[in-house]
């Protein structure tokens, strides 16, 4: 329950950030650098005197949007692939499974970093690369479930009734797989968030003055040496809390719907 509340809060913060940040997240105020925690700056300021709470809130947008796009894209592609493979079976299924196994063996983060290095840092390249990398993870789980589902007698019953494969897949198979897909997406969301934060941390994601959480962790490093670790710590805590909250919700959902957590 608490985890679900945290998820909702984080999402609300991200959505409403432009209207509710106490300060302009990019407003530089050198006289106020490394300000202590006060009512005006509850989480302090960074080396340029920017309000850290405002920056975290603004950064929540890209920090959540990235993983969201990844799980939506990978979930759609992975499920489509999984259901098609399970439905047609035979050599097509064998080929898809083999392909997924090979892709699965290839670390997604490495792929995403490579793509970002080749196509340039930013938001799009890592997100697209990570979406591709997440397809096998989701597709493998969904294929196993789709195969089980497809072999249940009710599917044959529907075929005897004269319904087309399209109808059966769209109106029966997919809705029955939906709970598992939601669980997979919620788990994937946590992984994608960490991966994208890592890419930002490496400087291959969003660039300053954006306040993506991964980027904030990286940019806070010089300040740590100066004795002011708050920026890196606060951004890291934001990542950890969000990832844990989404993962806990995913596991609750899995228990509820009996979906397999890998």
């Amino acid at each position: 329950m608490a985890a679900a509340v945290v998820c909702v809060l984080v999402v609300l913060l991200a959505l409403l950030a432009p209207w509710i940040t106490p300060h302009d997240p990019t407003a530089v105020d050198p006289l106020n650098a490394y300000a202590p925690f006060t009512g005006d700056h509850p989480l302090g300021t960074d080396d340029l005197g920017r309000d850290l709470l405002s920056r975290l809130m603004a950064g929540a947008r890209t920090s959540l949007a990235g993983p969201l796009i990844v799980v939506l894209a990978a979930g759609t592609a992975g499920t489509a692939l999984a259901v098609t493979a399970a439905w047609f079976g035979g050599w097509f299924d064998a080929a898809v499974s083999r392909l997924l196994d090979i892709l699965f063996a290839f670390p997604g983060l490495v792929l995403a970093i490579t793509v970002a290095a080749i196509f340039g840092a930013g938001f799009t390249a890592p997100v697209v690369a990570l979406s591709l990398a997440f397809v096998p993870m989701i597709a493998r789980v969904m294929r196993a479930a789709a195969l089980r589902e497809r072999n249940l007698p009710y599917i044959e019953a529907l075929r005897v009734q004269g319904f087309s494969g399209w109808h059966i897949c769209l109106r029966h198979l997919l809705p029955n797989l939906a709970p598992l897909l939601v669980v997979q997406a919620a788990i994937g969301f946590g992984y994608a968030m960490i991966d994208l934060a890592s890419i930002s941390f490496l400087g291959l994601g969003l660039q300053p003055p954006a306040s993506d959480w991964g980027l904030m962790i990286a940019n806070g490093q010089p300040s740590i040496l100066a004795g002011f670790p708050q920026q890196s710590i606060e951004a890291a805590v934001a990542v950890v809390i969000t990832v844990v909250a989404f993962t806990v919700v995913a596991e609750r959902l899995a228990e509820r719907f009996g979906g397999g957590v890998r």
Partner: protein, 250 residues
């Protein structure tokens, strides 16, 4: 004849002969039982007739064109043959939308009628399968099959998974439904004792072949094949006419 099965043969994996030259027929509105022990090829025949499996050789002809709506099937397992996410009403209206030209109101009315026919009522309409007992689920499966207005209903061990008292209810329901709709039955079972209640004719299958056929009365009272005799002997039940052999033992 409504259904004509001629020299049906099914070989699995190129060597295992599950059905070996089976022929039988079901007249329009008739009711044929297919009896035989486990593994005798009954389900395989049913799956070929309903188009779920291809025959290795032989023919299945059904009067008129071969449309799905002409043949419907009720499966053995009432717990798994319904979509667990679909309410009873939605299950029936889906079939009606596919097989009839009824409008929304017409479909609702017809599904209420079908529920009545199988001994359920409107209260069960919004229920999901998990809220229903095995017997109730099988009633839904029968209503769903009848929704397509089929000429032939294949029932593969349709009561085998149910308690004996529920079995009797479903068998009665089947008798009533046939009287009300004129649908023909291909009633598959390994249990000879349920046959006489529902069917007029019977074929006995053994190892993929038909070893005996005739009316139910003939076959039960004067079985000609030793396998049939064994089958009858193995299911002594109340209402059975004791054979002389049994009397002599007493």
């Amino acid at each position: 004849m409504l259904l004509e099965v001629r020299d049906l043969r099914k070989v699995f994996k190129g060597r295992f002969v599950a059905v070996d030259g089976v022929s039988f027929s079901v007249p329009t509105g008739g009711s044929l039982a297919v009896v035989g022990e486990s593994g005798s090829g009954k389900t395989t025949c049913a799956r070929i007739i309903t188009g779920l499996e291809k025959a290795t050789s032989g023919t299945v002809t059904i009067e008129g064109e071969r449309r799905a709506s002409t043949v419907q099937m009720v499966f053995q397992d009432p717990y798994q043959s319904l979509d667990r996410r679909q309410t009873v009403t939605s299950c029936l209206t889906e079939v009606l939308a596919h097989h009839t030209t009824l409008d929304r109101a017409g479909r609702a009315a017809r599904s209420a009628e079908l529920l009545n026919l199988v001994g359920l009522d409107e209260r069960h309409g919004p229920a999901l399968p998990r809220a229903l007992s095995g017997g109730q689920r099988q009633r839904v499966a029968i209503a769903r099959a009848l929704a397509a207005d089929p000429k032939l209903l294949v029932l593969d061990e349709a009561v085998a998974a149910l308690d004996v008292s529920i079995q009797a209810q479903i068998l009665n329901l089947l008798v009533d439904a046939r009287a009300a709709t004129g649908v023909a039955y291909l009633f598959i079972t390994h249990d000879l004792s349920v046959v006489q209640h529902v069917c007029e004719d019977v074929v006995v299958m053994h190892r993929g072949r038909v070893v005996e056929s005739g009316t139910v009365a003939e076959v039960l009272s004067a079985p000609s094949d030793p396998y049939t005799r064994k089958l009858i002997g193995s299911v002594p039940r109340p209402g059975w006419v004791p054979t002389r052999e049994v009397n002599r033992v007493c």
